[in-house]
């Protein structure tokens, strides 16, 4: 992983407040866990039925019955609980999930998120993504700023089928930290070594710039 990506993940980890219940989506978000201190008071949730996720285990130490929603062999911590899929999403939909971090294909300036389907190319089903995006109290996106072709992922309007409308609060990319505000995307922080113009060019929608100096991560 590039240095900027790793710093993005580390920066995202600082969004987690003590006492929160947090669901980390598959991919980049999962890595956030590596940046939490051993005694940090937080409850990690995985939608296949576990609160209190412990460290990921190598195959030789794994429990065949204990995976996270991404299929990684995880472990428990003191105070973990197992529950069924109905209870797991009850927790998500009823407002008990303080935060989720998700990947994205596109995020629109009004907070719309598309991350589950590319018609004609990628249609495996939404899994638990719709409920996480629609109902977590705070929805953060972790993503590269542009796709592999260099096209902006932050756009004026999503062209792909939505996961949920107006759900994203904050976006962490390898270039910037950007908030979704009623006025649109607002630049909050910038990756070390980049100029504001680099971010503006790589963003597919207007960017509200802060007054004064921009914090660097």
């Amino acid at each position: 992983m590039s240095g900027a990506k790793e710093r993005m993940v580390a920066r995202a980890a600082r969004e987690i407040r003590p006492g929160m219940v947090v669901n980390l989506g598959i991919g980049l978000p999962t890595r956030v866990v590596n940046h939490l201190a051993a005694d940090f008071p937080v409850c990690l949730h995985t939608e296949n039925g576990l609160s209190g996720i412990g460290p990921t285990l190598p195959a030789e130490q794994a429990d065949r019955n204990l995976i996270d929603a991404g299929g990684a062999y995880v472990s428990t911590v003191p105070g973990s609980a197992f529950f069924d899929s109905a209870a797991s999403f009850a927790l998500v939909r009823s407002g008990r999930l303080d935060m989720t971090m998700l990947g994205a294909f596109e995020v629109a300036q009004n907070g719309d998120l598309a991350n589950w389907k590319i018609p004609g190319r990628f249609s495996p089903g939404a899994g638990g993504g719709i409920e996480l995006a629609q109902k977590a109290r705070r929805v953060l996106v972790l993503s590269t700023h542009t796709d592999r072709q260099g096209k902006p992922k932050l756009v004026e309007r999503c062209s792909l089928p939505l996961t949920a409308a107006g759900c994203v609060d904050r976006i962490f990319t390898d270039m910037a930290v950007i908030d979704v505000t009623p006025e649109g995307f607002a630049l909050r922080e910038i990756a070390d070594g980049l100029a504001v113009d680099d971010v503006i060019k790589a963003t597919g929608a207007p960017l509200i710039l802060p007054e004064g100096e921009i914090p660097v991560f």
Partner: protein, 230 residues
């Protein structure tokens, strides 16, 4: 990462409830009724409460104290036949009572706890409980929309809890407690025993900790928790 500690004093936990609040109370008869939390609510003086509970307990027990002190405005329940005061107050218009079929009350509370807007059921279609309720056709048959119930606070009684709020209930004291522990903005669990993290085995948890806001340890149980001798 470690899981947070949610142990709180009874006074502090209950003090977050305001007059006019809707409060769910676990229990079916004596078992599972959070008598100590109800006593603390009585002591603190909150008024104009809407109470959601399977029953109204019996004379001198639990909800009956709140009724006797005039703290209850409205009761959503299934059966109050063992509490003559509740029936009298209902008949005299001193409290408003909404009756539900018992399993439908359980499902409405669960729906609130599961973040659903409503359930659709044919239970009670032929009865006066159907009055005023919207119906829809499902597969060509009529069914009623029963809206989800949520509360400002829920009081539940557990046999054991760990400090994170994982709860275990005992025998038929489980009843409405697990659903109510999901369905309120402020969930307060009183527990006969509070254990350290890891004290409740992960496969034996009845209510997962993320649903619970405060864990209150009970000291010696009052006689309200005892066998009822009739």
């Amino acid at each position: 990462m470690r899981l947070p500690d949610k142990t709180t004093s009874m006074e502090e936990a209950v003090s977050q409830i305001e007059s006019g609040a809707t409060v769910m109370l676990g229990g079916f008869g004596v078992p599972g009724t959070p008598f100590a939390l109800i006593r603390e609510l009585l002591r603190q003086g909150q008024r104009d409460l809407t109470i959601i509970k399977n029953d109204a307990n019996e004379t001198g027990l639990g909800v009956d104290h709140l009724l006797a002190e005039g703290r209850v405005k409205r009761l959503i329940t299934t059966h109050i036949g063992l509490n003559p005061r509740a029936i009298q107050m209902m008949n005299d218009g001193e409290i408003e009572v909404e009756f539900c079929a018992q399993g439908i009350l359980a499902e409405r509370v669960r729906a609130g706890g599961a973040g659903l807007q409503a359930i659709v059921t044919d239970i009670g279609l032929d009865t006066e409980l159907a009055r005023g309720k919207a119906t829809v056709d499902i597969d060509g048959k009529p069914a009623m929309i029963e809206t989800a119930l949520r509360a400002d606070a829920a009081f539940v009684h557990a046999a054991k809890a760990d400090v994170f709020g994982n709860l275990g209930y005992c025998a038929t004291a489980r009843n409405f407690n697990p659903m109510m522990a999901m369905a309120a903005d402020l969930v307060i669990a009183e527990a006969e025993t509070v254990l350290p993290l890891g004290g409740v085995a992960p496969d034996e948890v009845h209510t997962p900790g993320p649903f619970v806001d405060h864990v209150v340890e009970l000291g010696e149980l009052s006689e309200e928790y005892d066998i009822v001798r009739r």
